[in-house]
């Protein structure tokens, strides 16, 4: 049926008008910060790789732990958070027909708060007043301004949460009886997690501020670590949700298929949101002061996240196989050949997914009590998170750039840029296999993480690590080349690529798919369940740590 222009504009304005330029500006600003952070963080990563290999010596005004703090903070927090917010706000705008003007304001307030916060924290790191690593475990004490900066970052994230919740409610009110579009659903889930993840760490930071200022003499170290990992463990699943939103919604469209069952996707989202937070103690398996049964509970909860992950693996393979067979793939695995390997929008997230097989399996190793004794605080852990966040998450983000940025900037992805993207993806993959692979192996041989000099006076066990550390440096060099290409590609697509319209590749459901049931929208219920699970996992141990607290620790500066 023909629709009048007016009708189309009302029902699907983006078809005619594209993205609202005001919304695009929000997302592009966040993405700009993300890729500037990536560039700086990447350079620092290479510095670390070279230093560990003994190929360079840092000048006296720069120490390894200062560099490592900045690398961790800029990449783990600033890059991933700002990218996610830019991407998710674009999704929200696209799915709900534009952001409300009020919501856009919230996004800008969040942006300014985060910039102020990051500037404060980074300044303190640069001044060598905050070499506490990204985990800022007490009793290591940074300058109070470092912690105040972190508070600003959290406030910025909360402003973004508020924006999403307002827009979501507004849409719900105006669309009774309809489920929200998948992209908006994912966005809602991620920001619900952001909100509840940051509560614990905010309480921690508020106790550290007076302590670092000398107003309070001691702090409870165990409570601090516990509140940190309440956040840290949840952050991991925030990235995971952001990444799978792209796997479920965009990848099927890019390969010419349909997305998997709407109901299963939403079930995965609900499971991750509800089950996620109480896994923090698997980062503290060898910490004292936590009873065995509580540790067991957290290990169990963190393993339960494997359920939605395995559902995702199945769903994605099924999408690939169905699509590949429709395109004529034959035999057991012939469908694999029909997938568009030459399209960076597919190749990057595909490698991300494949790497998650190894990353996820490594995670199961880390969370198992006895196995954790083998790998705890070794380079294995560093290898693990460079595969998971450094490939599964980051390559998904890189792949998203090749359509999201041209779309937002009203430009086009040229075949030349696609080719550069393929080259970038290959360099990144090879670099990470070399770096992360050698980190895994040398970790099993005992090489400690977070240690600038691991020669131990030439002891023979330590001497055996050196060849692997040389491999870190080789991988790190490739990775920095990858970073530079990616940053170039991002800014080229933002400002210089030819003008044009780019598709927002949202997949459709199968023709015979049943729509998702309304009960999936009961966020109030999911949040109550989430809180119940958090209470089950954290109330007893935290009360125990406070009531039976050992003497607190004064602030300590080790550098």
């Amino acid at each position: 049926m023909e629709q009048s222009l007016k009708e189309t504009i009302r029902q699907d304005p983006k078809k005619i008008l594209g993205v609202n330029p005001l919304d695009a500006k929000v997302s592009l600003s966040y993405l700009t910060v993300a890729f500037v952070s990536l560039l700086i963080g990447g350079i620092l990563g290479l510095v670390q790789g070279l230093e560990r290999a003994g190929l360079i010596d840092l000048p006296s005004w720069l120490n390894y732990y200062q560099v490592l703090t900045a690398h961790g903070l800029l990449l783990l927090l600033v890059f991933t958070a700002t990218f996610s917010i830019g991407y998710l706000y674009a999704n929200l705008s696209h799915a709900l027909g534009g952001l409300l003007p009020k919501v856009r304001k919230f996004a800008w307030v969040g942006f300014v708060l985060m910039i102020i916060g990051v500037a404060m924290a980074v300044t303190m790191i640069v001044l060598n007043e905050a070499s506490v690593l990204y985990t800022f475990y007490p009793p290591l004490a940074a300058h109070p301004i470092f912690y105040i900066g972190l508070v600003f970052v959290v406030l910025g994230i909360w402003a973004c949460c508020a924006g999403v919740f307002i827009n979501y409610r507004h849409w719900r009110k105006n669309h009774p009886g309809q489920v929200t579009p998948l992209l908006a659903y994912f966005t809602m889930a991620v920001f619900v997690l952001w909100f509840f993840a940051t509560i614990g760490v905010t309480i921690e930071v508020f106790t550290l501020i007076p302590w670092s200022m000398g107003l309070v003499e001691t702090t409870n170290v165990m409570v601090g670590r516990t509140l940190f990992w309440w956040f840290g463990h949840t952050l991991v699943n925030i990235w995971y949700l952001v990444a799978i939103s792209a796997w479920y919604v965009f990848v099927p469209k890019i390969i010419g298929g349909r997305h998997f069952s709407d109901k299963l996707i939403r079930l995965v989202v609900i499971l991750v949101v509800v089950l996620n937070i109480p896994g923090g103690f698997h980062h503290q398996i060898i910490d004292p002061a936590i009873s065995q049964s509580i540790k067991f509970l957290h290990v169990f909860m963190s393993l339960s996240i494997a359920v939605p992950s395995l559902m995702t693996a199945f769903a994605m393979f099924a999408v690939f196989e169905r699509t590949g067979r429709k395109l004529g793939g034959k035999g057991l695995l012939g469908w694999l050949k029909k997938l568009p390997w030459g399209d960076v929008r597919f190749l990057a997230p595909m490698i991300a997914m494949i790497s998650f097989i190894f990353g996820g399996a490594g995670g199961i190793v880390n969370t198992s009590n006895q196995l954790n004794q083998v790998i705890h605080n070794t380079m294995w852990v560093v290898g693990h998170f460079h595969i998971t966040v450094g490939v599964s998450v980051v390559l998904t983000f890189f792949g998203i750039c090749y359509w999201l940025i041209p779309y937002l900037a009203k430009r086009k992805l040229t075949p030349k840029m696609n080719k550069l993207g393929i080259i970038q993806t290959v360099i990144w993959t090879v670099g990470m296999i070399i770096m992360s692979g050698s980190m895994h192996i040398v970790g099993l041989l005992g090489d400690p993480r977070r240690t600038s000099d691991t020669t131990y006076g030439g002891h023979e066990a330590a001497a055996g690590w050196i060849p692997f550390e040389m491999l870190f440096a080789v991988g790190a060099t490739l990775l920095l080349i990858g970073v530079i290409i990616q940053v170039y590609a991002v800014f080229n697509m933002m400002f210089f690529a030819p003008k044009g319209l780019t598709e927002y590749p949202v997949a459709e459901p199968e023709d015979d798919a049943t729509p998702a049931p309304m009960w999936t929208e009961r966020w109030g219920l999911w949040i109550v369940l989430l809180l119940a699970v958090v209470a089950m996992a954290y109330v007893v141990p935290i009360v125990d740590m406070i009531l039976n607290a050992p003497p607190g620790s004064p602030p300590i500066r080790t550098w």
Partner: protein, 50 residues
């Protein structure tokens, strides 16, 4: 010359091939194998060292 019957069943077969998820089963099996192999390998190192 094929009978209509044969053509029909061939179509059926192709159609089955198109809907088949055998590859998915194999792939999921591969995921399981990676998990088991990695876990057992590190557990073995643990047992060697205790």
């Amino acid at each position: 010359m094929k009978t209509t019957e044969a053509i029909k069943s061939e179509k059926q077969l192709n159609n089955d091939d198109e809907k088949s998820l055998r590859g998915t089963l194999v792939s999921v099996g591969f995921v399981a194998a990676v998990i088991v192999v990695m876990w057992v390998a590190v557990f073995w190192i643990y047992m060697e060292r205790v």
